[in-house]
Subunit: 412 residues, 2 copies
């Protein structure tokens, strides 16, 4: 049976920038392997969450894994928690969480507590993991620097609650979590969260690590700021739905989380950081090894293209694309002859706008029996002329299922 490698470069799609000759980073980059993939395959444009909508990274990945986000998405917390390696149970309400610094009147000073070290955060996390508030169990795990995952487990909880995190509004007091509907569950969840946030201020402020940081003049990690509530639902896996044995090669926790949600095995790859310094060749090799080990489908995620888009760094984004292109070359050479290889982005992240935008992303697919369409370049403009046309994210996984010989005929 044929196999598939699906490469998703986060936010790699972009818009033509007059400062760079009206080119997009993909057009400016030298990427002979992506172009080869396009020339040997069929191309199109991907609307990951449907036409006209601005995709998030969580919703777009849900869609391209075959889970319509309108049905399955609640909040990002669930996927961050899964990505952090927490085992979730049906009904758990999960949050992303920052260690942050507040001053007098609980006013926000630094949303990232001076990017406190991962080791300090791990120590501080012990204050909260296992705590019980109003009969609700708190599960807490620090991940990278100031970032953490928070899970509330118990009866009668809801994800319909607002954030405690004021986001970019430095100087304002930490927000009181509010229920977002009239349900007693949302009320209870908000109460538990508000109590946790209040307690965190006391517990953290008196912790030796913070006393040490204060001495060194560093911002204290003296409060928890939960956000992005989501409820975990056990859903049928890709194996159950399509008979596809799937693996994930990613650095970023969110992407591992969505992959775990879909029932993929997340492979740990040394050097896969989710940053620009990530070892793309190690990721490529891990993907090839996974195919050999019996996986039908390997999802490879590269994050840094999106980061450079958010930071407005056109040149760095183009450089990152050139780095990823080496991995594509490795995959084109090393994959079995009958393997399908596809590349796309989950959304457009415009360097000019420094944010996600709605425009679709180039998609190229190579493999046996493909209707090669004559498109020679992998970019936003050339792929628009391709034989795939405009495809919806939610159609991608059924397409792979058929290519892999795993689809069921609809009707007879």
């Amino acid at each position: 049976m044929p196999k598939a490698i699906f490469i998703v470069c986060d936010g790699m799609g972009d818009l033509p920038d007059p400062k760079f000759g009206g080119k997009t980073p993909l057009q400016a980059a030298k990427k002979p392997n992506m172009d080869k993939l396009a020339a040997e395959g069929i191309c199109g444009l991907l609307h990951s969450v449907g036409g006209g909508r601005v995709p998030g990274s969580d919703t777009s990945h849900l869609a391209i894994f075959g889970y319509p986000p309108d049905r399955y998405y609640t909040g990002r917390g669930t996927f961050e928690a899964l990505g952090a390696g927490l085992k979730l149970e049906h009904g758990d309400v999960a949050f992303r969480c920052n260690f942050a610094t507040v001053g007098k009147g609980m006013k926000l000073i630094d949303r990232r507590a001076g990017r406190i070290s991962s080791s300090e955060a791990k120590e501080l996390a012990k204050l909260f993991d296992g705590m019980v508030i109003g009969g609700v169990k708190v599960i807490f795990k620090a991940t990278v620097e100031h970032r953490a995952a928070l899970v509330l487990r118990g009866k009668g909880l809801s994800w319909k609650v607002s954030d405690a995190d004021p986001h970019d509004a430095v100087g304002v007091p930490v927000l009181t979590v509010r229920p977002l509907d009239g349900s007693p569950e949302a009320r209870k969840t908000a109460d538990v969260l508000n109590e946790l946030v209040a307690k965190s201020h006391g517990l953290l402020s008196s912790h030796p690590i913070n006393k040490e940081r204060a001495k060194k003049g560093e911002p204290q990690a003296n409060i928890l700021l939960p956000r992005g509530a989501g409820v975990f639902e056990k859903v049928p896996s890709l194996k159950e739905r399509f008979g596809i044995r799937a693996a994930c090669v990613a650095g970023g926790a969110l992407y591992k989380g969505v992959a775990r949600y879909a029932g993929m095995d997340v492979l740990e790859v040394k050097g896969a950081t989710g940053n620009a310094n990530t070892d793309v060749m190690a990721k490529g090799k891990a993907a090839l090894a996974a195919l050999k080990a019996g996986y039908d489908y390997v999802f490879i995620h590269v994050k840094a293209t999106d980061n450079f888009g958010h930071d407005g760094k056109f040149r760095e984004k183009a450089k990152m694309i050139e780095k990823i292109d080496l991995m594509v070359g490795l995959l084109l050479k090393g994959a079995p002859k009958d393997a399908y290889i596809a590349i796309t982005a989950d959304h457009t992240t415009s360097c000019m706008k420094m944010r996600h935008s709605h425009e679709p992303t180039p998609f190229a697919l190579r493999g046996p029996g493909i209707r090669v369409d004559g498109v020679k370049k992998y970019d936003e403009l050339e792929c628009a002329k391709g034989g795939l046309g405009h495809i919806a994210g939610i159609d991608v996984m059924p397409m792979f299922a058929d290519l892999l010989g795993k689809a069921h005929t609809y009707g007879s």
Copy 2:
């Protein structure tokens, strides 16, 4: 008022085959008339049941006649029974049925009873037609060779039952029909079917025709194998929905059945067999005559392209396309000047994969006021460049309704 001819060549879409210079059968065939239709018209690709899904022949035709299969489709049995000319009533549960041969322990020997002759099967059918089991009326009609249509009529029936037919699993015992949900209706229907199958073995085994076959060393038609349960629902016809008087020219029973479901008149055409030997010119003439007789829309179905795809016969498929092309020539010459003529396939049937696959099918439409798009060839690659883009099956009938001047403005 303008009129329309809609030609659907079953499974005509295909994939490029390296054994034939990387061409598809459509690309390999000489089909000047299809190319003329494309050149004088607008082209695109059709996703009959939506992106990424592998269409069946029943679901795809439902969709292109304007009945969303997710809403209307239960199982193939209904359409086979309608195609066999049985008059169905709302709530009837219908099945496809084979005469088959079993040996000791009810183990399947030949799923087609040695392709018993149609005349023998017609005689055997009398054993079952009109039978009553547990208050449920059995309606039974033999069609071609070992094939038959079975209808159960009565209160409290359900289509949520499994097949008795083990399909390709020769050597295994005939399956016990199981209810597919917990309803008493499904339980009752399964019971009736199991009783019918058991009875059929006794009745058929002692029938003189089978004694005669045994003497001649031919496989006995000693059991009925029902499959593909569907429930019949009386739906609004194309006349009621769009004011379109529609006719069907087809050989295969299934296609006649879906056409009848949509309220089309099925024209009997001598020589329309549903096989490669079908008289395509007779079908074309019948379509032209139907337009003259006052029909607004004639659906012409040709089946054999699909059969050759399933059998992996590239050359024969291309030859069949050349045969169909002569009919297209007849229609282009003979149709009224203001008639719309469209051609497509209901799905791709890959000669390499010998099965249906998800890839869209070329669509070409000629007629007054059409935005001619410069596409010169009717095939999977060229039509991808056409002005229609990628269209969904469910949008085809509303498009015809407007072309025929029968559509209602949505809003005002």
